[in-house]
Amino acid sequence: MMMLDDFMMRAALAGLGVALAAAPLGCFVVWRRMAYFGDATAHASILGVALALGFGVSVFAGALVVALIMAATVSTLSGRGYAMDTLLGVLAHSALAFGLVAVSFLQGVRIDLMGYLFGDILAVGKTDLAVIWGGAIIVVGLLVWRWQALLTATLNPDLAQASGIDPRHEQLGLTLALALVVAVAIKVVGVLLIAAMLIVPAAAARPMAHTPERMALIATVLAAGAAMGGLPVSFALDTPTGPTIVCIAAFIFALTTGAAAIGRASARG
């Protein structure tokens, strides 16, 4: 594994791994209007990072556990008639604030807070790489395995129920996958920008897709492209890598959406 000794190679592989998991899952986040849900889960994970550092356990495990708790809390509350956008706004930002406060209590260990907020893809080690790809494979495996059921439940829960699919199980599966993606993506894009890796590629793929499968596939390719493009650009411009990747994804979104709008206008005119 000589090639893994190069930090740029590890960074590229880490970016690809996150793109592979986040883009197709992000399609479901978009279709089900869970964008804010993704945000809340991601922001909460900084609290997990702080706790993990405080108790000396792995950051990945800490972030995963807190993301899971957050996702479970939101799922439980969502069926009970609360105004969801308000509730998610409260949870997302207070979790972030508690996380930041908790980090400030950590003495002795000097923590590069920026690294967790915006990611530090160039510092990805071999273990991180294994964790990222392990998580990505689990998420993609889950999506492929449950694809038809997930899609039916996303379209209409009653439609799924009538065919013997329990939409709550499918929702739970997506929630777990979301927590996992958050946990593995912290190192690459940081807690503030994970939601962008979920949503921006999916949104950019939408105008080019006629079926859900095509959209997931295109989103994955675009996300991988953004990750691969972001690395050299951030290297050349000396900019933070995570935000640069998201910027490139945003440019792709503007291109595809703009092209689709022009296509529609010329079809009318």
């Binding site: 279709w31 379209l155 439609l159 009538a162 006629h210 859900p212």
Partner: protein, 255 residues
């Protein structure tokens, strides 16, 4: 054995009683229609039957291996979700291409497999929903106000199609409907629901029942008579229109 049998079914949602003491059964090949004012628990009964709502009392029994085809009241497809007609028919199970093609032909939409669902007209959309529900040759077809938003000829054609489906596939049909006179013609049995089953039986019987008239007024009786009239002569003297509009208003008032 009945396809579905509920015993003492009761449903409470958020402290409100939606259904109570519902004993209901549907047999193979039967067409049963549920009528009732808005808020009478029609949709909740259907949702309890498909398992989307848990009963708080009583139980819902299904025949072993029962296959249900479900046509929801409304299906909102999020604009972010690309979905062609052909892809939609492959949910939740995939089917061979030939099966999709023949399903679309039967639905009278042979060229639409590649069309986006969101670009269909109301009538086409409804026919695609029905075609999807029939893909796995269900034992029981459940329709929740499937003709909402269709005009009179559109919904008449839709119910005719249901009758053909019953003839050709032999499946039972359970539907909720507001088109009272169509209901009366198309059903073997009508159930009048208002939180509990007020009355049930053959359409003629139910239309005469006190409980039914108390809910729908005597205008409904006229609608039934009108239906029979038009059935013989196939013309519409306009009276049916005023009647059915009155029912709609009754329903709004009951809400």
């Amino acid at each position: 054995m009945s396809l579905i049998r509920t015993e003492g079914l009761g449903v409470q949602i958020g402290g409100t009683r939606i259904l109570e003491h519902v004993d209901f059964a549907i047999e193979r090949g039967e067409i049963v229609t549920i009528v009732g004012p808005n808020g009478s628990g029609k949709s909740t009964l259907l949702r309890a039957i498909i398992g989307a709502v848990k009963p708080t009392e009583g139980r819902v029994g299904r025949a072993p291996g029962l296959k249900i085809g479900y046509v929801p009241q409304k299906l909102h497809i999020d604009p972010t979700l690309p979905m062609t007609v052909g892809r939609f028919l492959n949910l939740p199970q995939r089917h061979p291409r030939a099966a999709i093609r023949s399903a679309l032909e039967r639905a009278g939409l042979p060229d639409l497999a590649g069309r986006q669902m969101t670009n269909l007209s109301g009538g086409q959309f409804q026919r695609v929903l029905l075609a999807r529900a029939l893909m796995n040759t269900p034992d029981l077809l459940i329709l929740d106000e499937a003709t909402q938003g269709l005009d009179q000829p559109g919904s008449a054609a839709f119910y005719q199609r249901i009758e053909e489906v019953r003839q050709s596939m032999g499946c039972a049909v359970l539907m909720v409907s507001h088109d009272l006179h169509v209901v009366m013609s198309a059903s073997d049995r009508v159930i009048c629901l208002n939180r509990h089953i007020c009355c049930e039986g053959q359409p003629e019987h139910v239309a005469q029942a006190e409980e039914y008239r108390a809910l729908f007024g005597s205008g409904t009786h006229g609608a039934l008579a009108l239906y029979r009239h038009t059935h013989d002569h196939a013309h519409d003297d306009g009276e049916g229109c005023t009647h059915s509009h009155d029912h709609d208003r009754d329903h709004e008032a009951a809400q």
